[in-house]
Amino acid sequence: MLIVDLARSSVRELNAGLHRLAPDSNETHWRVRNPRGQHSIAVGLEQPVVVEIEGHVGYYCAGMNKLATVVVEGNAGQGVAENMMSGKVWVKGDASQAAGATGRGGLLVIDGNASARCGISMKGIDIVVKGSVGHLSAFMAQAGNLVVLEDAGEALGDSIYEAQLFVRGKVQSLGVDCVEKPLEDEHKHELRRLLDAAGINGTVDVGEFRRYGSARKLYHFHVENVGQY
């Protein structure tokens, strides 16, 4: 295991070391000490390594992640795992705004709460939040799944495309063109897969969730709206 102490090295040095890794590298397990809320820790990883960060991180941690597993043993600032392509990012505390923004693949797990705009413009990422999410989560979400074990704030799924949203608690309000949809067996199966991947094995009843998605009313121009322009 490699240990990088950010009290001694810079974030740039850490990231450069991670970017230099070859696909067959044996340096597959990294621990990062003293993150002290610094920004852009472990961004742009492209190899299947595990990076554990001992403490709270600042903005954009694990952004653009591909293949790697990044574990934050604390809270994450804005834009954790933004534009993730694949791999896994696991935040053991809370995440600030825009967690998983524009993510294209992989799995983001947040043990605590995520604040506003979680999964904004998500494009294929799966996000599991064990607490609640703030307002405008899944805004313009295009593909992927957002699973929330507690509550969702105002305007959930505003202007949503084809992402699926599963919420177990209360939804303060749905955004424009976001509607509740029936939770069929195929959706329960998908939900079970996501919960298993997030390490919540058999402790949650998938039947307690409600499913939300697009009413598809914003997809096309409707001639009756011509007077609006």
Partner: protein, 297 residues
């Protein structure tokens, strides 16, 4: 951008370290606000007196000023020099007279007044500003500070935060208001005056007006949600503590840490990393559109 730091001590043992802790909080926030900095420190009161923080030009005749105050007020005036600022203790029953004496010194500005509040602000790198005023040696129960990256008005000392909103009250702001001109016009009609074109000064004036209409601080802060348009995280200092309000869509970041000894507010967690007990603190993000207050009981 801009950065805000607020520190409220529950444990009196930390009071001698208040200033040094705030200085360490402001330092990493330089990245968010490198052009000016300022802070309000709530320290010891002098019974029967109100403290005025005055800003002096480099060539100021401090002795002449103190002599004028002594002659007019009829007693020696206790004072402390901090760089370009001087704190003077004015007998509480002679404040109006003191203001008239000070008005004769055209180049001296009253930065703030209060039983316990002292305000210091200046253009420059936050670390330099802290050093210049000797923040590290200041003590007290609570303090708020600000690092500025100007957006809505010029980089001047008057444009730096905190803005005072009345005795022992001040406001710092991260964000930008879009309806400040309209709100300013309304407030001017009500008799308020403004020193700058700054949007944050309007927010401070808005709070002052609400408080003088009889609103509680809680009510005054809640009415910001209805009347102020734009992006804001406000921290408002009072004699007893401070309050926090974020706009309803939470444009600007905010983090709170709480331990048995203290409550700390920071625009980013980086501002909080050197506080005692931070490793085991409860760290969380204040909800949008919600008034939070921490005050002495």
């Amino acid at each position: 951008m801009c950065g805000i730091a607020g520190l409220f001590l529950k444990d009196a043992k930390l009071e001698p370290d208040l200033g040094s802790m705030l200085a360490r909080m402001l330092s990493p926030l330089s990245d968010r606000g490198p052009d000016s900095a300022g802070f309000a420190v709530y320290g010891a009161e002098t019974p029967g007196h109100v403290k005025f923080t005055l800003r002096l030009p480099p060539t100021a005749d401090v002795d002449g000023l103190l002599k004028s105050l002594r002659d007019e007020l009829g007693e020696p005036i206790a004072h402390r020099l901090h760089g370009t600022h001087v704190v003077v203790a004015i007998p509480a029953d002679r404040i109006a007279l003191a203001r008239r004496v000070l008005a004769a010194f055209a180049d001296i500005a009253i930065v703030g007044a209060g039983r316990r509040m002292e305000i210091f602000k200046e253009v420059g790198r936050p670390d330099d500003v802290s050093e210049q005023f000797g923040l590290g040696a200041m003590r007290g129960t609570h303090a708020i500070g600000h690092t500025r990256m100007a957006t809505e008005s010029a980089v001047t000392t008057n444009g730096a935060h905190p803005f005072t909103t009345g005795n022992d009250q001040c406001l710092v702001h991260n964000g930008s208001l879009s309806n400040h001109c309209a709100v300013r016009r309304d407030l001017i009609k009500k008799g308020l005056s403004f020193r700058t074109e700054n949007d944050s000064e309007v927010a401070a004036g808005f709070i002052t007006a609400k408080l003088s209409d009889g609103a509680s601080l809680q009510q005054a802060m809640e009415s910001c949600l209805d009347s102020l348009d734009g992006f804001y995280t406000f921290v408002i200092g009072t004699e007893a503590g401070f309050g926090v309000l974020r706009d309803p869509i939470a444009c600007k970041p905010a983090v709170v840490a709480e331990t048995d000894q203290l409550v700390a507010f920071g625009t980013e967690y980086r501002a909080l990393v050197d506080l005692p007990g931070i490793a085991s603190a409860k760290v969380w993000e204040p909800a949008p559109g919600t008034v939070y207050r921490w005050e002495l009981h």
